[in-house]
């Protein structure tokens, strides 16, 4: 049976969605899975939404996660979590970073930033884990590790070998930040595991 794992990572341009999904996809391949990854990043640099799909299993044809079949969604931003919540599979998990990035359009009359996007996401996704990644990274002493910390939270949902994660993270993050990023990754995994256990 060809069971494909579908991961969805969403956020706003510049948040590190692309880095997190590159690490995840490389780790999936190193763990021996056929892997595909897809993102559309045409206008993301200019404040747009970014969404990246990572799929792995014995044989993956399409690089796109079918609507309503994401096993795990990792959202770097609260409103983006809500935008993508319907894409999560029944029984799936959403890991949501508490950050809000309010677009300029919300200053006009026609659009408002949602009041409680995480609460609204809970109506669509069975299990929602909230993480304040920026605050956690501050505690660890480097705000630039949000992306890897959130990836750590996602890793708690997967069974890849720790050594694989370590190897891929070391090869992908800026020189000199490897150990800090690995600590952030471990923190993310710990927070997600604790949050799920507390449910």
């Amino acid at each position: 049976m060809n069971e494909i794992q579908n991961m969805l990572i969403v956020g706003v341009g510049g948040q590190g969605v692309i880095l997190a999904s590159a690490i995840l996809a490389q780790a999936a391949m190193e763990a021996g899975h056929d892997t595909k990854q897809s993102e559309v990043h045409g206008m993301s640099q200019r404040g747009g939404t970014v969404s990246s799909h990572v799929r792995f299993g014995e044989k993956v044809w399409s690089p796109m996660v079918p609507e309503g079949e994401a096993h795990v969604m990792l959202a770097f931003e609260r409103a983006e979590a809500l935008r993508a919540a319907h894409l999560v599979a029944p029984g799936g998990v959403a890991i949501v970073n508490r950050q809000s990035i309010i677009p300029p359009i919300a200053s006009g009359k026609n659009f408002a930033y949602p009041e409680d996007p995480i609460g609204d996401s809970r109506e669509r996704v069975e299990r929602v884990i909230e993480i304040d990644a920026l605050e956690e990274c501050r505690k660890l002493g480097n705000e630039k590790m949000v992306s890897v910390l959130l990836l750590g939270a996602l890793s708690a949902q997967l069974d890849f070998d720790g050594a694989i994660w370590e190897k891929v993270i070391r090869s992908r993050v800026p020189k000199g930040t490897e150990d800090g990023n690995l600590a952030a990754f471990a923190k993310g995994a710990e927070l997600a595991t604790a949050a799920l256990a507390a449910r």
Partner: protein
């Protein structure tokens, strides 16, 4: 490229389609690559510049020149690659159509990266039509492995049939990653240029027999397509047979794991007899393709009964959801579980970055109440609210021609402007400006010179002083160029100084004839991030008037405290503010101060 290797296995990489094309070039021993940036094709030449040092690559000022450069190398017996986005092939169509006649000596592969869904394009044209139009073979990979493999295949076809080979990618193929297994590396020699006027000098007397050659070659290519394993049959259940290619094929394989497939690696010419034989074996034949019914119409014209667009529709990308819905509607798939509707969440339209040098120009341009003919680049975002200062966007370089035409039929009541980026001006705006001078148009052209090709991620161009391969280059003097074209009224402005911009716009309008405003200031992001002391809003001074929001700067938001009158105050995000100094000029209450200043007050 990071390799993962198991013992006694070939090197395996996780590569995007564009990176895979670069690896394919290395393996096929391609000597030269030339092109012009354009999403989703840009990373092909960028990856080669980084990872394939044995290959020469360059950005040309536009796609036409890029294809001509590649053709010159192929005429000279080298293997050559030309890259562009779909609309880029329109620009390169002139050399392409006659290259079909001349053929090549060394292999020539011409990549066209189409953009179904218009992720970042001005139209959604289906460039498979170019293959039929120019009578050229077209390869179409469906994943990264094929994107790599088909480069060598394309080079072989090109050399065997003396023909340029079109290579169609789409955004989903170019930007999706998949596992690629490395192959053998060839080292073809450069054979040199052999004079052959009957083949290369396309005057009517020579081109007439070459046309006959083109038709004969197409017959041979058809025969090749019938037997080539690029077009393969994968038998499954014979109730439903699918003909598909490219990104549509992998979607179809996933949705219909039981069906039989005829997978086309070559989108033109079609192996119609192979398809006919396949069709006879299945109960129902369905063509699954994105955009136009390119295969479907050819099948129907050949008398092969099939369905297609009734399932897939004519618009956009074939997502799993759209394909599934079409298959269910036509009774080819049992109803699947309903996907819930998405929540209504405010959109995030792209905006000019904090500190973008284009902002000040559009802020002032809006006040001139003219008609502003626009162009394509980051500055196209000047058309969106709140700036709303650009009225058209057609194709690269169109702004100046459009402005000339408008000025010739204008009643003179409104000033007429063209706004164009430096990259776009060098791509195809120079000839428009020459036209404006030559034909005495009364227009003002604003050249937004941010010294980079920003829209596509920061590529070099002839006025950046560097080449794609990182070498120092001659840096075109735009003012000298504009004056040489015959423009007499040229103004240089400081983009972030609103008074200066306004004065220049007014002086230019008073000038009868063509005037040019050179608005030069570097992009805030590329090649270096600009970050100076940020500004902040002094809470007590802010009256909540919202004037600063009219700049459309994403660092400013209406998230502050309420004034006594109940108006919400603005706030500047000091993390993202670059300190460009534009917004303080809009504030009548002197509420916007440099962060350090406030500390000392």
């Amino acid at each position: 490229m990071e390799a993962s290797q198991k013992p006694e296995e070939k090197l395996r990489y996780l590569l995007s389609g564009n990176e895979a094309v670069a690896l394919g070039c290395r393996e096929a021993g391609v000597h030269l690559g030339a092109g012009y940036p354009g999403t989703p094709s840009t990373e092909i030449l960028e990856t080669i510049a980084r990872m394939v040092p044995e290959m020469y690559v360059q950005w040309s000022p536009n796609e036409k020149v890029g294809l001509e450069v590649a053709a010159g190398a192929a005429f000279s017996g080298a293997r050559a690659l030309s890259t562009q986005k779909h609309v880029g092939l329109n620009v390169a169509a002139d050399p392409l159509m006659t290259l079909a006649y001349t053929g090549v000596e060394g292999g020539l592969v011409v990549v066209t990266a189409d953009d179904p869904e218009l992720h970042s394009s001005q139209n959604e044209q289906d460039n498979r039509h170019f293959a039929r139009f120019a009578k050229l073979p077209m390869l179409e990979p469906s994943d990264s492995q094929e994107a790599k493999d088909y480069i060598a295949v394309g080079m072989d076809i090109s050399e065997e049939f003396d023909v340029p080979v079109l290579f169609r990618m789409t955004t989903r193929i170019s930007h999706s990653k998949g596992i690629v297994e490395a192959g053998e590396t060839q080292k073809p020699a450069i054979r040199g240029f052999t004079k052959n006027p009957l083949k290369y000098v396309m005057v009517p007397g020579h081109a007439r027999p070459r046309h006959a050659y083109v038709e004969e070659r197409l017959v041979k290519l058809r025969a090749f397509a019938e037997t080539s394993d690029l077009n393969r049959i994968e038998w499954g259940d014979k109730k439903l047979g699918i003909v598909s290619a490219g990104a549509a094929y992998v979607q179809a394989r996933e949705k219909l794991p039981e069906a039989s497939f005829l997978k086309l690696g070559m989108s033109y010419p079609l192996p119609l007899e192979k398809i006919r034989a396949f069709a006879e074996q299945v109960d129902r034949l369905l063509v699954i393709e994105e955009l136009d019914p390119f295969f479907e119409e050819q099948l129907k014209a050949a008398g092969i009964v099939c369905e297609g667009k009734n399932v897939t529709g004519l618009l956009g990308e074939l997502t799993p959801g759209r394909l599934g819905a079409g298959l269910v509607r036509e009774g080819m798939l049992g109803a699947s579980t309903e996907v819930a509707e998405g929540a209504e969440v405010l959109p995030r339209p792209p905006v000019l970055c904090p500190g973008c040098p284009h902002r000040g120009v559009f802020f002032e341009l809006k006040k001139q109440r003219g008609n502003v003919f626009g162009d394509i680049g980051c500055y196209t975002l000047g058309a969106l609210p709140p700036l709303s200062a650009m009225d058209t966007c057609l194709d690269m370089g169109a702004s100046i021609g459009n402005a000339i035409g408008a000025s010739k039929v204008s009643d003179g009541k409104k000033p007429i402007f063209a706004t164009i980026g430096d990259g776009t001006f060098l791509h195809s705006g120079m000839t428009g400006l020459l036209d404006a001078v030559y034909n005495r148009a009364n227009i003002t052209v604003v050249i937004l010179d941010n010294r980079i090709t920003a829209m596509t991620g920061g590529q070099e161009h002839p006025s950046t002083g560097h080449t794609l391969m990182g070498e120092e280059a001659f840096d075109v003097d735009l003012e000298g160029l504009v004056r040489a074209l015959g423009v007499e009224h040229v103004e240089n402005v400081m983009n972030h100084d609103l008074e200066d911009v306004q004065a220049a716009l007014q002086a230019a309008q008073e000038h009868q004839g063509v005037s040019v405003i050179l608005a030069e200031a570097p992009c805030a992001l590329m090649p270096y991030k600009i970050k100076e002391t940020p500004y902040e809003i002094i809470e007590d001074a802010c009256t909540g008037c919202r004037l600063c929001l009219q700049t459309g700067c994403p660092s400013i938001s209406l998230t502050g405290t309420l004034t006594a009158e109940g108006r919400q105050r603005a706030v500047i995000d000091t993390e993202t503010c670059t300190g460009c100094g534009l917004c303080p000029q809009t504030c009548n209450d002197h509420a916007i101060m440099l962060v350090s200043e406030e500390v000392t007050v």
